[in-house]
Symmetry: C2
Subunit: 293 residues, 2 copies
Amino acid sequence: MKIIDGKKISNQIKDEIKKEVDSLIASNQKVPHLAAVLVGEDGASLTYVGSKVRSCKQVGFDSTLIRLPSTITESSLIEEIDKLNNNKLIDGFIVQLPLPKHIDEEKILMAIKPEKDVDGFHPTNFGKMALNMDTFIPATPFGIIELLKRYNIETSGKHTVVIGRSHIVGRPISILMNSKREAGDSTVTVVHSRTKNLEFYTKSADILVSALGIPEFVKASMVKNDVVIIDVGITRVEDSSNEKGYILKGDVDFESVKNRASYITPVPGGVGPMTIAMLLKNTLLSKSLSKDK
Amino acid sequence: MKIIDGKKISNQIKDEIKKEVDSLIASNQKVPHLAAVLVGEDGASLTYVGSKVRSCKQVGFDSTLIRLPSTITESSLIEEIDKLNNNKLIDGFIVQLPLPKHIDEEKILMAIKPEKDVDGFHPTNFGKMALNMDTFIPATPFGIIELLKRYNIETSGKHTVVIGRSHIVGRPISILMNSKREAGDSTVTVVHSRTKNLEFYTKSADILVSALGIPEFVKASMVKNDVVIIDVGITRVEDSSNEKGYILKGDVDFESVKNRASYITPVPGGVGPMTIAMLLKNTLLSKSLSKDK
C-alpha cells in the first residue's frame, strides 16, 4: 500500500507556481492577484479564506480580502462583485460559501465574470469542462486529477466509482475521469443516496472516489483488493483527548481499508491540501490568459 | 414487452404545443419563431433542417431557413449569427452541424447567445443543466427523459448504463438521469470505447441507453431480463431490397433483445421522432422566457 501524499504534492505545485511568479518578477511583469470575498463571520469560512490568503503570499501572488457584513443585501454584494469583474488588477476571485440565507447563491454565482471565476463554479466554466473545452476546473476535482497524474495511476479503462453527486466534487470528477483526457478514459459509475445495493458498485471499483461527508463510511468489506482510494470527505468528529476538541475524519475507515488498497489518500493530508494549490494554479492560468488577450 | 412509441408521443407533444400556439394567437400574441442556419449542400443536413421547418408549420410556429454557401468564411457566419442574436422576432435558432472543415464549430457555438440556443449545446446552457438550473436541455436527451416520464418508467435507484459519452447524447443523458429530478436519481454508469469488460456493465443495467452508432451492437446475451432499452443509434445500412437502397438500424439487435426487455424503443420510431418535438418545446420555452423579461 502506498500513501498518496497530498501535502507533499501540493508543496511541489506551490514551488512550481512560485518559480513562475519569480520569472514574471524578473521580467518586470505584474504578479497574479487573487481576491476573496468573505461575507459574515463564520469561523470555518474565516479559516479557509485565511489559509487561501496565506498561500498567495507563499507563492508571491498579490491578494485582497474583502470582508462584508452578514447583513449586506444581495444587490450590494452584486455591486461588489461587479467592481471585481471590472478591476483589471484582479486576475481572479472567489466568493467564499456558504452565504447568508437571504442571499441567492445562484444569482451571486451568475454575477461573477466567467473569465475571473477561478473556482470554476460558473455554469459557463462548468459547461466548458463538461464539453472538454479549456477552462478553470473546480479546485477539488482538479486536485484529484493532479494526484492521479503525479502518482502515475492508470485510469484508462478502469472502473471508477464516485460516491456523491455534488456540484463541486462528485459531478465534476465523474465527468473529468470519464472524458478523453489525462487521468480520464475511465468507466465511471456515480452512486448516491438513492442507490440501491451500493456495495455491488463499490466492490467492483478499481478506483473509489468518496465525496460523501460521512466519517468512516467505507469499510474494508466494501472494496476489492488493490483498489485506489481517493477520500474527499473531511468531517470534524468530537474528540476530547485532542486539544482542539475534535479530530478530522475522512469518508473511509482508513485503518481497515489501507491494507486492501494499492494507493490511498489520508485525511488530513490527502485531497485537502491540493485544493488551495489548484486554486492558485487557476489564478496563474487566468493571469496568463488575460495577457494573451 | 412493451414498445415505447416515440412517434405517438412526439405527436402528442406537438399537439400540446399547437394548443399553446392557438391560445397565443387567440390572445393576439406573437407565435414562437425558430430559425435554422444551414451551411452548404449536405444531403442529410438538408433533410434534417427541412423536417424541422415542416414541424414548425405543423405546430403553428414561424420559421426561417437561412441557407449559406459552403464557402462562407467563419467571420461572415458569425456575423449572420449575430444578426439572429439581435433579431427580436427570433425566439431561438440552431446552426445545423456538421459545418465545413474550415470553420471552427466551437467558435460558432460560442457565438450563439445562450438565451437563443434552443439546441442547448452552448457551454453556459450545458453547465446550467449539469448544475440543475433551468435551461434548454439538448433535444435528444430531453426526448429520452420525456419518454421515460410518459411511460412511467421508474428510474430512481435503478442502474442506468449509458453506452457512449458524446456531447450531444451520452454525456447529457448520463448527467440528467443521475440528477435529483424527474426521470432522474438513477445510479449511472457511462461505458465507452475504452471500457474493459463491457458486458459486466450492460448485464447489470436496469435501463440501457445506447448512443454508439454501431448497428445491432447490443445482443440479447449482453442484457438481463426485464431491461428497459433506449436505443439512440440510427445508422443507414445498405439494403438493395429497399427502394431507398438502405434501411435504418439501431444500436440494438431488436429482434433478439425485445424478448428480454420490459420496454424497448424501436428504430425508426423511437427516440428519433422525439428530437424535433423537444426542439419545438425548447423554442416555445424560449418564447415564454423572453416574454417574462
